[in-house]
Structures are given as C-alpha cells and as structure tokens.
C-alpha cells in the first residue's frame, strides 16, 4: 500500500506524458493516492511505534542498498498530508494554456517525490526522492509562473540546489561517521547504532551543523529564507500549495527523522544558534510580513514565519515539543495550501493581489471569503484548528526546557517571544483579510464570479481535515508521541540532567521530567 501511494502519481505522470487526458488522469491518480493514504492511516497499528507496512527490495547487496519503504506515525502523517494537498492542488489547477500535460505530470512528480521521501526508510532514496520532487518545482515556476517568474525560478533553484548540496555532504558525512561495521543506508539500522552512542560527539557537532544548514535552506530558515516569498508569489497556485504545504516539510521531516534522534549531542551543541535563527523566523520575518503590500508575498512570508514555530518544537528537544512540531507541520501544510489556492483564484479573477487595489471581495465572492477566513484563522492559531493544537504543544514543550523557578532561561525567553509572534501573525493575517475581503468593494469587483461549485470539494477537504485534527488532535498524538518518546529517551547522553533542571515541582512532574529526559539547561549548553 505504501508503494502504491508512491507509484500511483508516478505512473500517472508517465501516462499523462504519453497522452492520457491530463486533468482526469491526474485527478483520478490523486484520489486513488488519497484513498490509499486513508487506508494506510486507518489500518495503522497505533499500539506499536516502529515502522509498519515495510517492503524491501534489494538493489545492490554489496553496497547494502535496498529500496525499503514503510511508515511509522511520523511518516504516516506526512504521507497523509502530501496526499491531501496533492488532491487539493490538482483540483485547484485551472485551465492551463500551454503544455497542459507537462504541467500535470510535473505536479504529480512533486507529489510522488514528496511521498517517496517521506515513506523511504533508506537514506539514499530519502534523498533521491526529494531531488525528484525539486526539479519539477523549478520547471513549474520557470515556465508557468507569473510576474518575475524567471528570476524567481533561478533564485529558488540556486538556493535549493545549494541547500541540497550541503545536505548531501551532511548525509555523506553522517554515513561515514558511523563505524564501518554499522554503516548502512537503512535508517532503522543507523538509528539503533546511533542510539548506542556510535557517533562521536565531535562528529555529531559537525554533521548536525551541516544538516541544520542544508535542511534549513530547504525550510527557509532565517537568514536563508528570501527565496520563499518570491518563488511562491511567482509560482502558479497549485505549485505554491504543493511546495509550501508539502515539499518544504521535507526538511523538517529530515531533522526529526535523522538529525534529532541520531545526533542529540550536535543538537544540544547548536541549540543556541538554532533558537536565535528561529527567533529570526518568528520575530524578524513576522515584522517583514507586516510590511508586505501584496497578498501573495504576505502569504509567502507568513509561511516562512510559521516555520519558526516548528523549529521551536524541534529545538525544544522533548517529546511534547517534537510532537507539537509534527502536528503543526501537518496543520500548516493544509492551511497554507488553502490560502495559496484561494489567493490563486483571486489573482485569476482580478489580475492583481495588491492590497491597495482589492477590498470588499467577501460580498461578491462569499464562498471565497468564507474559505479564506477559515485559512486565516487556522493560520493564526484559533482553537478548533489543528494549528492551535500544534502550537500549544510547542509552547508548553519549549517552555519546560531548562526550567528553573523564578528564572528565565533561553527557552523561556524564546517561548515568550514566540508567543508575541502570535500577536504579529494576528496583525498581518487580519489586516490582509480586512484589506482583501472586508470593507467597501471597488466598482470593478462588483461583478466577480464566486469560486466554482467544484472547488467546494478541495476546500471542504482541507478545512475538514484542519477541524478534525483540531478537535481531536489525540488521533495523531497517540501515534507520533511514542516515536519521540523512544528516540528522545533512548539516548544515553540525554539521560544526564543537571540538578538545576528539575524544578522543585510536584512529584508527578519530577517523574515526568525524568521519564522524558528531554530537557537541558542553558548551563549545560554553556559548560560544553
């Protein structure tokens, strides 16, 4: 079934290039993929945390290279996200004027690449699938984009190529930092080897930094973020949906899958750096977002900003924060896809996304207004949407890191600043909604047609998923938390906690602190 989710879009892409009717094939393939992902999700055994539905196909025994796929709670969610957003993106694709077949084939390739990367347990394919997804992204922006599309395409190409290259070096070094006997491309093997402390702390620090920068560029970590808004503004709406919603999450997935569990010492060493950079994402980019004067640029910057929260969850280095990061990845993917989808429809109708020219659109396009409103409030973390559940877990997870009564350490300060970021995002999202959809409508927009009835399906799908996991986040948490519970507590290094880290709290809390063994204090960082 996992293989089906990868190969269904891939085969469909090939068929489309061979001449099958583009839109119908693409829709059918993405519906089938979504169905398969749902089936995987339903049949997922939540009682055990390891990989399931594992299939292995030997490629080259001498290199110990095989094509292994499977899902655990983390990759399950990412596959589900990818399949939902793919379906929505294909559905949101409007008439393509030139090379229609190539457009849909590229979209499906991105989808196949993303799902493949999330479902691969093999390091080689993990990387290769991501590359498979990146290349059509560049093409889609360069050929079908709007505005300054060539410059944007080059910028994203250069940034992401450099990012992938640094990542590649990082992955190779990671591979080589294992002792010869335990080298393998199988992530499970590597993980258990790393859990036994086979990577020297020295190597961990170097490799982690490379992975952080490599993945960081892919995720638009401050200050490597400037490609994102420009590319998303130029990209056709479905591409922006797929890239911002799914493909960008590959980097975060990589950090959670490889860097955090295998290189805990590295993570600890560079925690201060990461916290500073992620605050750049939240506060600095948040301010930049406020200053934007176009809806597409604003959305692009907001997606950069929200990555800061996911980073905060990852940096907090505990079960709670990491689980929150996963939930927020999922939620952000859906909400940003919804927003980019509607924004694309607006641009198609009005020809502009400048705030000064828009206004009052909710009157002429009530359904678009409602759908964008859902996206807006999901993005600013209104309870009821999955984004809120993710953010709450991240804030609580980060805040407890290195806690000491009456003191504010790095993570407490970072959490408070990140909370202020919520106010910033409220300001720019609501202002954008106000300027686009509320207020008096300009004369030229009085006759705009609303979204077509057909688009109710993808909108309902995205909003429904956001609400479903916002009301019942436990569905995810139950299958994700055990993964981190294992990997974040199995590391012998992390078991040492300085006494100052344990607050004079309750007995339960002390128990919880020692069970999780996730936190560490700023003193620990300083003394290393």
């Amino acid at each position: 079934m996992v293989l089906f989710t990868i190969f269904c879009p891939l085969v469909a892409a090939v068929l489309i290039m061979l001449g099958a009717p583009a839109r119908k094939t693409a829709l059918a393939a993405s519906i089938l993929t979504f169905g398969a992902a749902l089936f995987l999700f339903a049949s997922f055994d939540r009682s055990h945390a390891g990989f399931q539905h594992v299939t292995s196909l030997g490629i080259s025994p001498e290199w110990r290279l095989s094509f292994i796929t499977g899902v655990d709670g983390l990759s399950m969610i990412m596959v589900l996200l990818a399949s939902i957003v793919t379906l929505a993106a294909v559905w949101f694709t409007s008439a393509i004027e030139r090379y229609e077949h190539a457009f849909y084939a590229c979209l499906l390739l991105i989808s196949a690449g993303a799902i493949g990367a999330f479902a691969s347990i093999d390091l080689f394919f993990f990387y290769a699938f991501h590359e498979l997804a990146l290349i059509p992204t560049f093409l889609l922006i360069g050929i079908w984009g709007s505005g300054n599309r060539v410059a944007a395409a080059w910028k994203i190409t250069i940034y992401l190529a450099i990012g992938s290259f640094i990542l590649l070096i990082g992955l190779i070094l990671l591979y080589q930092s294992f002792p010869l006997a335990s080298r393998s491309f199988d992530i499970r093997v590597l993980q258990s080897a790393a859990a036994m402390g086979q990577i020297s702390p020295e190597a961990q620090r170097h490799v982690y930094l490379l992975l952080l920068i490599g993945f960081g560029i892919l995720i638009s970590l401050f200050p490597f973020h400037t490609w994102a808004p420009e590319a998303y503004a130029a990209a056709p709406a479905p591409v922006a949906m797929l890239h911002a919603g799914v493909l960008k999450k590959f980097g975060l997935y990589g950090l959670l899958r490889l860097a955090i569990p295998m290189l805990p010492e590295g993570a600890r060493h560079w925690a201060t750096l990461l916290v500073v950079l992620l605050l750049g994402n939240i506060i600095y980019v948040g301010l930049v977002t406020i200053a934007q004067k176009r809806l597409d640029w604003m959305l692009g910057y907001s997606s950069v900003m929200h990555m800061g929260y996911v980073f905060l969850g990852i940096a907090s280095f505990g079960v709670l924060g990491a689980t929150g990061a996963v939930v927020l990845m999922f939620a952000h993917g859906l909400s940003i896809a919804l927003l980019f989808g509607i924004a694309g429809e607006l641009r198609r109708r009005t020809g502009t996304l400048a705030f000064d020219e828009l206004g009052g659109l909710a009157r002429t396009m009530p359904f678009a207004g409602l759908a964008f409103g859902f996206g807006t409030f999901a993005a600013i973390g209104l309870p009821g949407f999955a984004n809120f559940a993710g953010e709450v877990m991240i804030f609580f997870g980060a805040f407890r890191n290195g806690w000491e009564i009456g003191r504010m350490h790095m993570f407490q300060i970072a959490t408070v600043l990140a909370l202020w970021g919520v106010v910033l995002s409220t300001v720019y999202m609501l202002r954008a909604y106000r300027k686009t959809f509320m207020g008096s409508a300009g004369e030229q927009w009085r006759k705009l047609p609303d979204l077509s009835k057909g688009l109710r399906v993808p909108v309902t799908l995205l909003v429904g998923a956001l609400l479903c996991y916002g009301f019942f986040p436990q569905i995810f948490v139950r299958s994700v938390a055990p993964i981190f519970g294992r990997s974040l507590s199995a590391n012998p290094v992390t078991q040492s906690r300085s006494p100052g880290a344990v607050s004079p709290g309750s007995r339960e809390q002390r128990e919880s602190a020692s069970t999780e063994r996730g936190g560490y204090t700023i003193q620990q960082i300083a003394t290393r």
Partner: protein
Amino acid sequence: MTSFFPWLILLAPLASATVITVFTLRWKSVSCAISIVAVLVSFSASCWIFAHPNASAAEFVWLDVSPVFRVPLGLTLDPLSRTMAVLVSGIGALIHIYSLGYMREDQGKSRYFAALSLFMFAMLGIVFASNFVMLFIFWELVGFTSYVLIGHWFFRNAPADAANEAFITTRIGDFGFMTGILLLWMTTGSIVFAEIAPRMSMFGGHTTFVAIVALLIFCGAVGKSAQFPLHVWLPDAMEGPTPVSALIHAATMVAAGVYMLVRVAFIIQASHTALLVVAWVGTITAVMAALIATQQDDIKRILAYSTLSQLGYMVMAVGLASNEAAMFHLFTHAFFKALLFLAAGSVIVMLHHEQDIWKMGGLRKKLPITFVTFGAGALALIGCPPFSGFFSKEAILAVDYEHNLPIFALALFAAFLTAFYVTRMLVIVFFGSPRSDSARESRESPAVMTMPLIVLAILATLGGFAFFARNFLELPAEKEMVFFVPVLEIIALIFGVGLAIALYRGRATEPVKIELLRRKFYFDEFYAWLIRWTQELLARLAAFIDRWIIDAGAVGGSSRGTWGIGAVLRLVQVGNLQAYAFLFGVGVIAVIYFAVFR
C-alpha cells in the same frame, strides 16, 4: 448517561452553528429557528443542572502526551459555574428572540445566528472550563465570535476596522495570559484549577514571581474585560448589531474576564502586590470611562463606556479580594446592561438606525414600553434604591470603604459621574421635544422585541433583593451596617442627577464641550502614534533589510547578474531549464556515487 447530559449545554449551540454554516445558510428562517431551539435547549439544560447540585459530567481527553502534558476536557459544576450558566444561557435566549425582530431584514441573518450559536458554545465553555488550556480554547473562541459579530456588516469600513481592533487588542492581553499559564504550569505542574489551588505553596518564597504570574493571568482579563489600558476596543465594538452589543459586549463576554478572575482568585490572592494592582486598574477604568461617558453623543457609546466603568467596579472588587461583591455586581449588571442595550436598540431601529442622542428627544410618548424599561435599567445602573444596581454597587462600595479609602473616594466619584451621564442621556433622549424627523415619526417596537425588554426590566428591578439573588449567589456577608456608605452613595446620586437635569433640561445642543473627554483622553491617537513609531517602523526597517541586505547580499546578486555565476546563468534561458534540471539530477547522483561508493 446522565454524565453526558451537562455536555448538552455546550453541544446544542455547537451543533446549531455547524448545521447553519454547512447546510442552511440560504434558508434564513430555518437558521433562526435552529439557533433559537439550540439556545433554549442550553437554557433548559442549564436550569436542570442548576436544580441538581449533585450532577456530574464525563471527562474527555483532548490532548495527552503522558506523562508530560495532559489536557482534559472536563466540566466544573460548582455553584459559581451553575449560576453563570443559567445567567448566560437565559440572557442569551432573550437576546436570540429579540434579534428576530432587530435583524428581521438583514441579508446575513443566517451568518448572524450561526455566530450567535457559536458564541453561546464558546461562552458556556468558559463558564464550565475545568483547566487553563480549556479555558484558553474557549477564551479565544469567544474572541473569534466577537470578531465575526462586530464585523457583521463587514462591507462597511468602520465595522471591519473595529472587528480587527477588537481581536488584535484582546490577543495582546492573551499573550500575557498564556505566558502566565505557562509559568503556572511549570511551577505547580498542573493546568487544572482544582489541582493548582492546593499547590500554590510551591511558589515558596518567590513573592515577586507570584506577583508576576498573577498579573500575567490578569492580563487576559484586562484584554477581554476591556480594562485600562486595553479598553479601546470596546467602544469601537459598538459598530456591531445592537443585540450583539447587549449580549457579548455588555452582559456576558466582557464579564468573562471578571468571571475568570473569580475562578482563579486563589492565584491573585496569593500576592498582595497583584491584588493592589488589580484594584487600581479597576478603579482607574471605572473613573476614566465614566468621565469619557459624560461627553459622548452616540447612545451606544455612552452605554459602552458605562460598561467599561461598571466592569472597572467588578475588577476593583476582585482586587479587594471580595469575589462575592464582584459576582453580585456581574449578576445585576448583566440584567440591567443587557436591558439598556436592547432598549437602546429598540430606539435605534425605530429611528432608522439613528444613534446620535441629539437627534432624538421626546421619545417617552412615542416609545412608552421602551421608555419605561430603559428607565428601569437606568435607575439600576445609577444605583438608585431599590433597583438591583443599588445593592450590588453598595456591596462594592462597602468593601472599598473597609479596605482602601482612596479607592472608596474614587468609586464614589465614579458613582456620581454615572448618575450624571445616565440622567443626561435620559433627559436628552426621552424628554424635551423631538429634534429630527425620524424622532417625530417613530413608533413602538414589535412584541418580539418588547417582550425581552419587559422580562429583563423585571429582573433588573428585582435582581438585587437578597430573597432573589441568594438563590443564585453567595452574597457578600452582612457586615454590621455602615450607614455611612449607602448614605454617601445616595448623596452622590442626587448630586449627579440634579446637576444633569439642571444642565440638560430643554437643551438642543451640548452646553459644555470638554475636548479632552470628547476625544477619550486621546487614547486612540496615542496608540496610533505608538504603533506607527514602533511596530510599523520596525516592520518597514525589517522589510528594507530583508530586501536590500539579506536578499541582495545572498543569491539575489547572482540572479541579477552582478557576479560570476549570475552572468553565466543569465545566458541560460528558460527553455534550457529542463537541461539544467537534468544535469542537476545527474550531478547529484554522480556526487553520491563518488563520495560514498568509492
């Protein structure tokens, strides 16, 4: 099964909001019916809970990352929440019915009733919340419904701006609130009210720290209950439909801040500093808002400032550690302020949406029921015996007198101002002669609007008597009667009323204009200036840096062809992008091959 019954109070309005949004947006009268049935179910269930003190509710788990963090969804069923639920759902039901008349011809009626239902769900959620995260969830949701309802006429600029202002301002308060919750959680290891209370000793000797935590929690109430300095959103929220102003921005939601403070009073009371700050914030709000109210011309804004002022009284009482007095005033205020707003709404709608009091006049003959009910509400608001407001305000003043004389003096001054501006409004609106055509031609509202007025007028009149109120509330303990306090209050009242009648009888324009008060102490201007020179400046600066330093300094340069790679790349046209992409893939594989396998 019975343990699920209390959840019905919450689920009925939620179901109504969902069904209306998903299915019946087009059928306006169906939407109204669904919403009203839902609120009546809530009200009946609340009454049942009220009559059955032993009822218990099932607990669900919203989030569980054991053993670190667990958010249960449970219902607190204690006397406080049961009374509040009856109050909220009862007033809610009246206002739903009144809205039938008020919003009769509105295009967005379905959206309006869906939002009202969602509001009932969220507000009752606050009432029953058993822990801080659950409280916060519903706290944000009422903020959202308030946003939707203030912006109900979103196609006009003023309501759209007011909706944004309200949501953003309360979010600033919630920033502090959430920080407080985090600190409290870390210190006591719990988010559940019942578990935190016995663990307050864990703060040990950190007195400053306790004060900070308590004040951060208080921040949430400052935002939601519109206390100084975050009060600016409430008067602007009057851009929403009047029933909304009555329900959300007078009787229930804005009182949620006070309710929350009472619910977690054990935290505030753990620090003397925090208590003092809370009391003074309340006092400042009470006096400041009353001063502004004396010079406003819009009937709803006058009522809005009086709401601010009365909320100030409640917060003041919380700050003087008298939760009973605060809740008593919340209870009576809910009746008389909802009444005043609904009666004002009756005036406004019969004058074709005229809100300027100087364009009214002489309405006591045209709108007799409205006049009598408005009068009852006004007498309750100024604290005239034997109307309900007298008892609750007297209770707060007695506490002030006992604990803090400067606050007592200011509270008395605010009572004088209240009497003054309420009488001013009464005289200008209902007496004298009509000053506009719409005032001359107005007639009484339909029964669907006057019925709720009459019910509320009875409650506003009788609500303060002990024989009635003690069924619902724990009343402030009867101290040995300080005759001094009510006597002073009545003297202040007589002075206020007399001065207003002397100044405004027979006037057609404002005789005294005090610019400082008319401009609301220049708060709006000050905040606009503050935002321009902090947030906007920083945002522009950051955008500039992003564009011209970070972007230009990194790869921007290359794509603009300023250095080597850029020049090379510019030669490659879009058509060759495929070739590049292909080479890129090949290159990647080659690098892997050489690095790993060789």
